[in-house]
């Protein structure tokens, strides 16, 4: 039980560091740590498939993509654009209002039941594969099309226009 609160504290801490770090490279590294704490949360929920996918896809693929883009763009700390303090305070107030509204709505619900892992096979690859390739076969195929079109689009957008270059 206390593991959850410790990990939750770490995720919030690293998430705050992601948005407050001056250097974008530090932001990405803190984001890696945040996603790692999410992976631990998935393991605590016994969602083993999602834990592995989160680890490989998010921490392995997506964040490396971010780092490569940052390397291509070659930013340094001096060129980092910052907003004025006034806008920052307004933004924090706005986000805080959103949080207050959600928490107040949650207060109305009252104390909820604990999250128990009733079915230990729920998050395993075998069980999820059966659901994925039975009920969700069509969305699965469509998502493969989406990934293909995203790949084509990314290559098309990021290559230089031969007429201009």
């Amino acid at each position: 039980m206390s593991i959850f609160y410790f990990i939750a504290f770490l995720s919030i801490l690293f998430a705050v560091l992601v948005i407050s770090a001056k250097n974008p490279v530090h932001s990405i590294l803190y984001l890696v740590l945040t996603f790692f704490t999410f992976t631990v949360q998935y393991i605590l929920l016994n969602a083993q498939f999602l834990a592995i996918v989160n680890f490989i896809v998010y921490m392995g693929a997506i964040l490396v993509l971010f780092l490569y883009t940052l390397m291509l763009i070659n930013l340094n700390k001096d060129s980092e654009p910052m907003k004025t303090n006034m806008v920052k305070i307004a933004a924090v107030l706005g986000g805080g209002c959103l949080l207050v509204v959600v928490v107040a709505a949650l207060k109305v619900v009252g104390v909820s039941d604990p999250v128990l892992v009733r079915d230990p096979n729920l998050g395993l690859v075998k069980n999820l594969g059966k659901v994925l390739f039975d009920e969700f076969l069509l969305p699965f195929e469509i998502s493969s099309l989406l990934l293909l079109s995203a790949m084509v689009g990314a290559v098309l957008l990021a290559t230089k226009d031969p007429k201009i270059a």
Partner: protein
């Protein structure tokens, strides 16, 4: 292993919702306070992940695998979104030599 999950999971569902709400709000604040397009993208990833965690918690709470399949789809969607979004950012940088989103305020129409 079984007893580990039984003792580890006495966390109320409300606390999962609270954690996700906090992370989501941090993502919203990140989008609002930064001008660097890549950091804004990372804040959006943070929001997507908080929703993923909440879907998984509800899925375990209800004992229904559908929620976890949805998380899988969201991850596929996020990968596609990041690939296209970063390509757009690279293109913007090539044209304007900056990834400050305030440079793009001409994109009104």
């Amino acid at each position: 292993m079984d007893s580990f999950f039984k003792t580890a999971q006495t966390v109320p569902l409300n606390h999962y919702i609270l954690l996700s709400a906090i992370i989501f709000s941090i993502g919203v604040i990140g989008v609002l306070i930064r001008r660097n397009a890549i950091v804004i993208f990372m804040s959006i990833e943070l929001m997507l992940n908080s929703v993923n965690l909440l879907l998984t918690a509800f899925s375990v709470y209800r004992g229904d695998a559908t929620g976890q399949v949805f998380v899988f789809f969201i991850m596929a969607l996020a990968a596609a979104e990041v690939a296209v979004g970063l390509a757009i950012i690279v293109m913007i940088y090539r044209n304007t030599n900056s990834i400050d989103i305030n440079v793009l305020n001409r994109l009104k129409w």
